[in-house]
């Protein structure tokens, strides 16, 4: 044992005790074997509030090793309070290397976004999930939703989506848009924008989902079919944006609206800050990039 690992072994590596990690690891293996099925687990108290993604943190803590390189994003950004805190937590309790570069990370913990850069084989994407049950708003009772999954009774979900169409002329759901995994389980993709749903389909990376308060872990293995629920006459449509990123000129990326002043000035910029910076480093420019650089 070298000095590096010796030092970490003074307290619980990655915060959780070994028995808890084993329990979570067994749940992760079951989740991978049954893609899209929510495995119950005995969620632990973590030194942060539930809204901070304790489910994702527990999954990451159970998977991470000293050789890993961790990236944490919140709404696509590496520098928000939540992302910075979780990254600092793992630097302290697991002494791992951290990065903001998607391609350099072995584990990426995320809230609300999937990186724009396609993920690679061997990478693990860990989602923080608030409400893992996609049928919960239709049926509050756990015994009933469990039965619905067991019998593949997903008619109510389709009725709900079709009500959207009747009311709005299209499916209005834009976040946590339900998906079907490998033709079997209907799954909540976490509160990511539906823009990101296609990235889950046949991803080369392993996707793990942790819900702390609701005590559920689920997974999508690499190269697994993930289809957004839709109808023949109203097929799933990826969101599009009217203008490119104001900083890097990127199209086909998810944009956030940023208010510039109190006179109604605003711009649209990449939600994925790492991708935006990489594009600008490559020389791509948006229509406000000059102005942005001057301030």
């Amino acid at each position: 044992m070298n000095a590096h690992t010796d030092n970490i072994a003074q307290y619980n590596f990655a915060y959780l005790d070994e028995q808890t990690k084993r329990m979570i690891r067994r749940a992760i293996l079951k989740a991978i074997a049954i893609p899209g099925y929510q495995v119950p687990f005995a969620s632990r108290e973590m030194p942060m509030p539930y809204g901070w993604g304790t489910g994702g943190v527990q999954v990451t803590a159970s998977v991470i090793g000293t050789d890993d390189v961790l990236k944490v994003i919140d709404q696509g950004a590496d520098d928000t309070t939540n992302a910075v805190s979780i990254r600092a937590f793992f630097q302290k309790v697991a002494n791992v290397e951290v990065t903001t570069h998607t391609a350099d990370a072995t584990i990426i913990q995320t809230r609300h976004r999937i990186p724009e850069e396609p993920l690679n084989a061997g990478q693990v994407l860990v989602y923080q999930v608030p409400i893992p049950e996609p049928l919960r708003f239709l049926e509050p009772r756990e015994t009933e939703t469990r039965k619905m999954h067991a019998l593949e009774e997903y008619g109510l979900m389709h009725v709900k989506l079709y009500e959207d169409i009747a009311q709005h002329g299209h499916i209005a759901t834009t976040f946590a848009y339900p998906v079907k995994v490998e033709g079997r389980y209907v799954m909540d993709p976490s509160p990511t924008p539906k823009f990101d749903n296609p990235k889950m389909h046949m991803s080369k990376a392993l996707q793990l989902f942790g819900a702390g308060r609701e005590k559920r872990i689920y997974a999508v293995p690499p190269y697994t079919r993930v289809e957004s629920l839709d109808f023949e006459d109203h097929p799933f449509e990826v969101q599009t944006f009217d203008e490119p990123c104001a900083l890097c000129g990127g199209t086909d990326v998810y944009l956030d609206e940023v208010v510039l002043d109190d006179r109604g000035g605003r711009m649209f910029v990449c939600s994925d800050t790492d991708n935006c910076e990489a594009r600008r480093a490559e020389g791509h420019r948006g229509h406000l990039s000059g102005e942005e650089a001057a301030t």
Binding site: A9, R26, I34, P40, E182, Y223
Partner: protein, 203 residues
């Protein structure tokens, strides 16, 4: 060496880090069925329990996971004592009660349907079979398809349980119920989750 001293020797050198690397190997094997993960951390159990199977048991089993041993392992007092000391896992009264099955003699293994399959509501309440095989590439080739496999994967473990292809087809047909399989050999480890289909077997 007395039985007691055999039992307390041979655990992981670095329990925390070795358990993590073994788990990661099993996780990747389960996520990409048919891939072989080499160079895993090893334990030093008494034979006929192998270092690879013992390592998987140390990484995943504890007092919450009853283990069932096939007769080749159950008949060896040193193996039972070693597992009890290092994992704390109780032995299951019947195969159906076990969370993990450790088997050293694949050819004489009882049918897979004897192990916990989980329920339709809780398919995770099922057994994981850890099968000791001689190698992963010298047997009859299994062509695999399913989640985690981009095009197709191939694995040729031997020896395997009797009528394995047919048994596995039945196991897969029970999806989402069914058992998951971890194959261990000196070559490394590989896994077949219940979601994996065997599309053909070459003679």
């Amino acid at each position: 060496m007395t039985l007691d001293s055999i039992a307390i020797e041979g655990g992981f050198q670095n329990p925390v880090f070795d358990a993590q690397t073994i788990f990661r190997a099993v996780m990747q094997a389960m996520a990409e069925p048919g891939t072989i993960h080499k160079g895993i951390a090893l334990a030093k159990p008494p034979a006929p329990l192998t270092p690879e199977a013992a390592a998987v048991a140390l990484a995943l089993c504890d007092q919450d996971t009853p283990i069932w041993l096939d007769p080749a392992l159950a008949g060896d007092e040193a193996v039972r004592a070693w597992l009890a000391f290092h994992t704390g896992a109780p032995l299951a009264n019947t195969p159906a009660d076990a969370h993990f099955i450790l088997a050293a003699d694949p050819e004489h293994l009882i049918g897979l349907e004897n192990f916990a399959q989980g329920s339709q509501e809780y398919p995770d309440r099922s057994a994981t079979l850890v099968l000791q095989v001689n190698d992963l590439s010298g047997g009859e080739e299994l062509v695999l398809d399913g989640p985690g496999i981009e095009n197709e994967a191939r694995l040729a473990p031997r020896p395997m349980p009797r009528h394995f292809t047919r048994q596995w087809a039945q196991n897969h047909a029970r999806f989402p119920r069914g058992i998951d399989l971890i194959l261990v050999s000196r070559e490394g480890l590989a896994a077949l989750p219940r979601s994996t289909r065997i599309t053909s077997q070459e003679a």
